[in-house]
Symmetry: D2
Subunit: 344 residues, 4 copies
């Protein structure tokens, strides 16, 4: 059994990890740490876990000590020292935060207002989006687990960009997210009475996931891709729906675009390319690690519309982190991640 520890276990990503790891057949939740709730059972904060995941929250040090793999679900900036410590002790480190996601320190500085405390570690860190960058993950000790939008958007666009079917400028990613993406912290706009019956955009063209998704799409296409990215907050708990618009190049046909997606994602267990005529829906991936993708075309304006749906807490956070753990430890990638989404 792999001994897994969670640092920052009481936030939403940490709690979701605890749920998944508690049910993983080849891992056990060895430790959980929390600054705010040290000494309390995780099930006191999340009563759904009562009698099922009653682990007591300890310190970060204890979590590292007891674990073969450390998952960090921390506010941005706090992962770097922890990564260094784990690396030194030879422990695998999977970071659900943003500290190792951007390859370019200037980008990190611009968007997160931080610096690379251990530049040498960034070279060691793999970007943990297995369906696009699996080869670089195997054998690594540090994984930068992507964010939710930065999983959904690149998966929706990668085959079209890699195949050269679409213009790489002027791409629009109109995204919709469930509220758990904002975390457990309390804010006025996540108060039930103010989110219910609402829908609005936020951080319009200024969200930190913008450079991260462009970084992935540039790596895949070799082009200087730009994406106009607008997230919207939905009155639902879970899910990312990414509706991506890109202009088809002259001569690109829907059939060949579809064929490119089929080829690229053949054999990818967690990607379900939907049949023609269906549209991806967040409700069909809830509580699962799947990414549903549907392809649509607007012939009167030569536009590809690629829509992806994921559960932001699973494929967009904790589930993908477990998928990365499976990869690091040589397990079948889908171990512990085969739960079927409920139909309703």
């Amino acid at each position: 059994m792999i001994k897994a520890g969670i640092v920052g276990a009481t936030g939403y990503a940490g709690a979701e990890l605890a749920r998944l790891l508690s049910q993983h057949p080849q891992a056990e939740l060895a430790a959980a740490s929390s600054v705010s709730f040290t000494g309390q059972r995780l099930s006191e904060i999340y009563p759904a876990y009562y009698q099922l995941c009653d682990i007591v929250c300890g310190t970060q040090e204890e979590a590292v000590e007891k674990s073969d793999v450390v998952f960090a679900a921390l506010p941005h900036g706090l992962s770097q020292e922890l990564a260094a410590e784990c690396f030194e002790q030879g422990k695998a480190f999977i970071d659900l935060g943003a500290d190792f996601r951007l390859k370019n320190e200037e980008d990190y500085q611009k968007w997160y207002n931080g610096t690379f405390a251990h530049p040498e570690l960034h070279g060691q860190a793999a970007y943990g989006l297995p369906e696009l960058f699996r080869d670089e993950i195997r054998g690594k000790k540090i994984v930068a687990n992507p964010g939710c939008f930065t999983t959904a958007v690149p998966l929706a666009l990668a085959p079209a960009l890699a195949g050269g079917f679409i213009e790489y400028k002027g791409i629009v990613a109109d995204c919709k997210t469930g509220v758990t993406g904002a975390g457990r912290g309390l804010t006025q706009n996540t108060h039930f009475a103010e989110l219910n019956e609402s829908c609005s955009a936020y951080k319009v063209a200024s969200h930190r996931h913008n450079p991260e998704m462009e970084q992935s799409l540039r790596r895949i296409s070799g082009k200087d891709v730009t994406v106009t990215f607008v997230p919207h907050l939905l009155p639902v708990n879970r899910g990312i729906l990414a509706t991506c618009y890109a202009r088809l190049k002259d001569g690109a046909t829907p059939d060949e675009v579809r064929a490119a997606y089929e080829k690229k994602y053949a054999g990818e267990y967690f990607i379900r390319l939907l049949p023609e005529g269906k549209a991806a829906d967040i409700r069909n991936v809830r509580l699962s690690n799947f990414c549903d993708i549907s392809l649509h075309f607007d012939p009167h304006d030569s536009m590809l519309i690629a829509i992806s749906a994921i559960d932001n807490m699973v494929k967009g956070a904790a589930g993908q982190a477990v998928q990365n753990m499976n990869l690091l430890f040589g397990l079948d990638e889908k171990t512990g991640l085969t739960a079927i989404s409920p139909a309703f």
Copy 2:
């Protein structure tokens, strides 16, 4: 008092009209007709109206006879004969359906699979989007009341297109709608258990409002505008959020775009251009006839993002119809439409 009649009073648009007309200080609900519920009180179908709007549903003929103005909230195709009858009797006719919206019969044939039964009436019909086409409405007897998306999208884009600030090709209108837009009829995807916690696109690049919004934008700009239009269904009752993306022409600056909106909409009571830094939200226009518009810019990809929010049942249907009635009858345009949206 203007005597108003509603043909098709028991659908959602009809019922919303009944609510607004019942509270209108210079109109009275003189008649309501229904095919399915003849002889029943409207408040038996909508118990919220009990003791407040207990009008008994009669026949279409009665509704015409008792009214100075007839509102039709009928399935597509059923309004033309009724319009002819009203026109002949000298009664004002406001159509909440699509029969008189498209000026071009070929478009109507293509998208609605129908023909113009009374071509001469189409010349008499004004397109009832007052903020853009007010001059043509006054003095008319037939008004084609726009649909919900076709109110929200043109209002969001008109000043930028009219001012020549944006490219008129490759425009994206990513829209989100509340479920009442689908009407009172029962379908699997409006079953609570299947819409709750969901979000997905439908009729992708194939919705009937697409040619209608392009018709308005072409009239305004004199250009062959194309819009890729994708509606999404939200788990909320009311609201349209239209997130519109258009490429800024070289040299167009955010300041001059904003100035053009301010100029165009100065004096428009029902349009609230939001201050910089705010984003339009459907919850702020619920149950009101307002259209909130926010402007955003993505400098790294030269994109204008114009977002509009309306209540699909009010400004997107019944409220705008009352606004048109006010215009036809020479009343202050906002009469009966000044309700403040609830804060929560």
Copy 3:
């Protein structure tokens, strides 16, 4: 025009009052005060009010000075001094808090841990539930506006208790409330992600409204009524549903119970006694000042089930406060309160 001021205008009850008073034909919102948001426009906190209710929040002193009637929407304990000040200046005072609701200081001490700072004022204060205690309100200068549960439960049970049809011990009031009742403050259990898809009881048999509802029912019946009161929090914004169970006395028949309700509430505009076979539903009273009541009987256990539904923010708070203002100032009681609840 009556000049009305709101002290504590930025909480939910205060904001709802601002909305209602802004639309009142014989009152104007003369002042609004806030400790947290002094100097800000109310519409900055509630953007639904933008351009419609842009009043700037000032101090409590200003609010008193500018007003003929002062509404207090303050945390418990803060109203007494303000009441004294208003009383001294001859201004009407309507308290949406609890300071003047309990007649007995011991009860106040037990449930609110406070004392009567101005005992003489308590004798001057009317309990503002007009349908049950209208006579004592007229001519008063201080009104204790009841809470939401304490409006819904007594209205549901009063005619049965007054008529002696039910046992006055062992009454159960199983209540369900929308989240706005908990106010604008942020708590974990009103976070969207944690309230959505949930339902649970809180403050079981220990809610402060328990002694208040018993006080009203005792006054009406002259009996030592006891109510077991359990509130539940629902994932909806607005509404109280009070399902009240009381054992029918031997010989009491459904027909005579129903007749007693009809008689008691004949002429009460805001009470809608529903026809047999219908059940009260919070959605039918949303945004209105109505209280719907339905009566049901379980013959196999001799039980009366009386169900009432109100909008907790209107009839349960701000609307009833305006109704009381109308009474104090000799206006038609329903002035400004005739909005029809939306059907959806």
Copy 4:
């Protein structure tokens, strides 16, 4: 591997069974039948199951033939012939409908307007509420799987009644249910726009589960228990919250009542008796087979308030059916049912 077949697989209970059985380590979904969707994949109706549960719906005959155990999720009245057929062929039969739940044919006639087609089979049928009647289930071939309310209410009250701590008359069961309990069929009151933001009672004191819950409570207590049962429909997908009120007998103390629950449910994996001060919440049991129970007391009216929460589709239907299958086949009762409820 146990071969399991579902007759009526496309309704909500059938679909939930398909999800659970597909993930059961010692059973396989061998067949699924449907009258309306014969020849279609289950995943066409429930796209969440795409590529994960693509079984093609066949006929009832095929389902019986291919299975060791047949689950019937049929409208009332259709199970009896199927049960006879299975019994004859020596196959286990688990009925999620009501045909075998009521022991007394007169009750069945009164509440379901039907007759016992095979009276001898009723003697063979066990009532499948394991925590209360486990002994009678083992070794049986026919199981009447209880309904959702009839699981939640008896589990909440059994220890108090069995121990003689409460009066057996005048019990109130105020229940709240998610909408999936009403099934996949389309009705106006499950239309999203009409259920959202609503809460109301239905079938007040006239629901078919009333005699069924009394039957269980009478068996447990030996007394002529009567329960006033009022179900309410909530705008949530899943869950039953049963708030049960019963008068404590003189001398009964909270401590001894709590002790009786602890003793009764010690060792019951699926029952979680919550610590003092906590209240059962449907969100904590979503998608799980657990039943959370919290105990509360109102000293000022000598009332026990016992609250239970279950997922109506799992412990209230499909999960309990699998639990019964496990019992019939000698498996560990919790096999395939250990999923932890998501925290949000």
